[in-house]
């Protein structure tokens, strides 16, 4: 099977037909498919045969895990990295405020997606992985190990954004669109596609990211100790930073293993590509929210 990374339609056919699908839609000036060609294949128009070769090359891979990592790094840590990541190096308060509010909506969906993946599979290694994820992201393990979500709320509070304000907030439109896309992809597609959509995003904060070619990390680790951010913010960011590095790639190994078994590597590539596009906008929403919160307080 082949899936379109833009409209997610599944075609019972080859990469060549996917390329034809894009070719036909650019002739009709379809904005979403044209933007995708511009971003991932190139801005210069080719003929239909050449486009087919470019598509074959773009999707060809021996390892889905490595393909996901390299495409993720290129998109978010390329030259230059995403604006949110640039702002995170030595974050001003507005960045962390926006992060606190929008990420609440992200995490709320995150655990639902984990649950959808559990309900879509019989594989116990996958279920165990997702259960563990739900506990660490949302539920926590007693007072000594608060969840990632709880640490996020504490970061917000330390910057003057109350948990009440966070709970009462509506996600910004870009966050809402992203959340809806993740909800659909994890619920309606195979569990391995759901995992490719969600867990690939954890790469953003991976400590290994520089090993994969990024020119900087998610933030400059010096901020965890130099007093430039609140202690609560340092606790929130430090938790991810100090997490077991090997663990962060467990999901990618599971995705690679099951996509091989289920022979749906290209479908996983497509949902991953869709997911990083909405994630791109979502990261911008964190910045926009931060600017909004800053304006309100002045």
């Amino acid at each position: 099977m082949t899936r379109c990374p833009v409209c997610l339609v599944q075609m019972n056919d080859t990469i060549a037909r996917l390329s034809d699908h894009f070719y036909a839609l650019q002739l009709k000036n379809n904005a979403d498919h044209i933007m995708w060609l511009n971003r991932y294949i190139g801005k210069q128009r080719f003929g239909q045969d050449e486009l087919e070769l470019k598509f074959e090359k773009f999707f060809r891979t021996a390892s889905l895990k490595e393909w996901i990592i390299s495409n993720f790094v290129r998109k978010f840590y390329g030259d230059p990295p995403h604006m949110f990541i640039l702002e995170m190096q030595h974050p001003k308060e507005y960045v962390l405020k926006g992060y606190a509010m929008e990420h609440h909506h992200f995490l709320k969906q995150w655990v639902r997606s984990c649950a959808s993946i559990i309900s879509n599979t019989d594989m116990e290694d996958v279920q165990a992985f997702e259960i563990e994820n739900i506990v660490s992201e949302w539920y926590g393990a007693g007072d000594s190990r608060p969840s990632h979500h709880e640490l996020l709320l504490r970061m917000g509070e330390s910057l003057g954004v109350s948990r009440d304000a966070i709970y009462k907030s509506e996600p910004l439109p870009a966050t809402k669109r992203a959340v809806e896309a993740w909800s659909m992809m994890s619920r309606d597609f195979t569990f391995v596609e759901g995992m490719a959509a969600m867990h690939s995003l954890e790469l953003v904060a991976s400590r290994n990211i520089r090993k994969y070619g990024a020119t900087m990390g998610y933030f400059d680790p010096v901020i965890l100790e130099d007093g430039s951010i609140t202690e609560e913010a340092a606790n929130f960011l430090g938790e991810g930073y100090n997490a077991d590095v090997a663990h962060s790639e467990t999901a990618l190994d599971l995705i690679e293993k099951y996509s091989k078994e289920m022979r749906n590597t290209q479908d996983c590539q497509a949902v991953f590509l869709k997911s990083i596009e909405v994630f791109d906008d979502y990261l911008n929403a964190r910045l926009e929210r931060g600017m909004m919160l800053e304006d309100k307080q002045q």
Binding site: N30, I34, K43, D281
Partner: protein, 97 residues
């Protein structure tokens, strides 16, 4: 109005797609309606900020992810600015530079 993107889309220079829209009485080429929307809103903001009644030329450098640094020209007057949008064309930032 002309831009430095002479090969294709007036905003991004892509040669995929072919979408025309009238901007300030002139028919201009774009790759898609989102680029046209962004361009139209950009022109509106430039005119609003400068008070100009026309723009002769716009030089655009950058891309969708890092944003675009631009200089608009009207006769011998120049206005430099930076902007960035979401993928649906909604503006995140527009500022004089």
């Amino acid at each position: 109005m002309k831009t430095n993107n002479s090969e294709g889309c007036a905003l991004c220079n892509a040669t995929w797609g072919e979408y025309w829209r009238e901007i300030d009485g002139e028919n201009m080429p774009f790759c898609c309606n989102i680029c046209a929307d962004i361009f139209q809103e950009m022109v509106r903001r430039v005119k609003e900020n400068t008070g100009w009644d026309k723009i002769d030329y716009i030089n655009l450098e950058g891309n969708y992810s890092k944003g675009r640094n631009c200089t608009a020209t009207n006769g011998d007057r120049k206005y430099s600015y930076y902007f960035r949008t979401y993928s649906d064309g909604k503006f995140i930032t527009f500022e004089e530079r």
